[in-house]
Amino acid sequence: MTAKTFKLVTIYCEAVLESRVIEVFDRLGIVGYTVTECRGRGTHGVRSGNWRMSANVRIEVMCDVDTSDRLNEALMPYDRDYGLLVVRSDVEVLN
């Protein structure tokens, strides 16, 4: 089994930001990503998800360390005005 070590970057953000984030992916040459609808609470308050303005998404990207650094940097401008949380962890990609 030839497992490759990657970073998993998980982005929790307001649903309106999704298309922006995907533009960032395109700019950085990131092809693969996965989006799940979610709700939650953070410093911007409760986001109950029952209408679009209060919906969150959770976007996962498997990429190398470098790309994850650049991704984080590219997302930071949105951090001031939008509900946004970016976390990173280690994963092995098995296929």
């Binding site: 109950s48 029952n50 679009r52 303005m53 949105y78």
Partner: protein, 322 residues
């Protein structure tokens, strides 16, 4: 001043929310209900448009749209200088009030129907046209005189292409205009009847469900109320009444019938909660959405539904006559 019992569904939603009931309208159903409302209103408008000369309407519409721009243009300085709100917040809220609310319009249609006051379905054209210009104006207001950030002036830094796209390709415009065109064609071909059981007969029932959902959402905003301060609450009540009065003046000048005048007044008085929040979040991200949504959905919407519309009917009956 009588009321349509349909507004009780909004109350039911508010009460459910306040008692923390587990009642929830799933997000997918909310989406479906709003697609239905927009399409149904567009279709009905289109069917009626097919019976009228389009050109006459175009002139009236242009005037109404121009007149409606007064709302954000007056609202903005009030919010900014009387209310001492930050520039982006003042601009965003002004844009919400300059734009229109589909559900408030629908409740007004129901209310005048209840009192046997006729109106023309083509008023939906006004609904479609009034939605977006105020949003563009709101963005201009937010950026005007912006300290030149990174060497660009505020206005130049607006991504107008994206903004126009966000607004014009937004689902409310697409469905209203699309519905108008399809309804127009179907009306000309006498082919609306088979779609009417869904889009016409169920309208009021679906509106009831939508009001229930809006009540639930409004209840979840109640906590934010205290933080608005008294100023914003007063603004959210006075602004619609002033705008409605202005709408009646315009309607009288355009020679509208009583029913059409009431609907124009209601459109002026209403504040957007579908297109505006989404567009402002993208175009004026510094604005706090809790303020604008709290004011428009939490105060103005229920005010219009319970007090405003009956009041505008009464005002119109006095000014326009029967």
């Amino acid at each position: 001043m009588t009321f349509d019992p349909i507004v009780l569904f909004f109350l039911l939603g508010v009460v459910s929310g306040l008692v923390k009931s587990d009642l929830k309208i799933p997000a997918a159903i909310y989406e479906a209900l709003s697609i239905y409302l927009l399409l149904a209103i567009g279709l009905k408008g289109g069917v009626e448009l097919a019976k009228y000369p389009l050109l006459d309407l175009a002139g009236d519409a242009m005037i109404a749209v121009a007149a409606a721009m007064a709302i954000p243009l007056v609202g903005y300085p009030v919010l900014r200088f009387v209310g001492r709100m930050a520039q982006p917040d003042a601009a965003s809220i002004a844009a919400h009030y300059g734009s229109v609310s589909v559900v408030t319009y629908s409740v007004a249609v129901a209310a005048i129907g209840q009192q046997a006051i006729d109106h023309d379905g083509y008023m939906a054209v006004f609904l479609a046209l009034l939605e977006f210009p105020a949003l563009l104006l709101g963005v201009v207001l937010a950026r005007l005189g912006d300290a030149t950030q990174n060497g660009k002036s505020g206005l130049a830094s607006v991504d107008w292409g994206r903004l126009l796209h966000e607004v014009l390709a937004g689902k409310s415009i697409v469905l209203l205009i699309g519905g108008l065109i399809i309804g127009y064609v179907a009306g000309r071909m006498d082919a609306y009847a088979p779609m009417a059981p869904l889009f016409r007969d169920l309208f009021k029932g679906v509106l009831a469900l939508f009001l229930l959902e809006m009540g639930l959402v409004a209840a979840s905003r109640v906590a934010a109320f205290r933080t608005y301060g008294a100023f914003l609450v007063v603004f959210a009540v006075v602004m619609p009444v002033a705008a409605a009065a202005w709408g009646l003046v315009v309607a009288q000048w355009l020679g509208f019938t009583l029913g059409n005048a009431i609907l124009l007044a209601t459109l002026f008085a209403s504040a957007s909660y579908i297109a505006a929040p989404a567009a402002m979040r993208i175009a004026v991200p510094q604005a706090n959405p809790a303020l604008s949504i709290g004011a428009s959905l939490g105060v103005t919407f229920p005010f219009n539904v319970f007090v405003g519309i009956p009041l505008y009917v009464w005002m119109a009956q006095r000014w326009i006559g029967h």
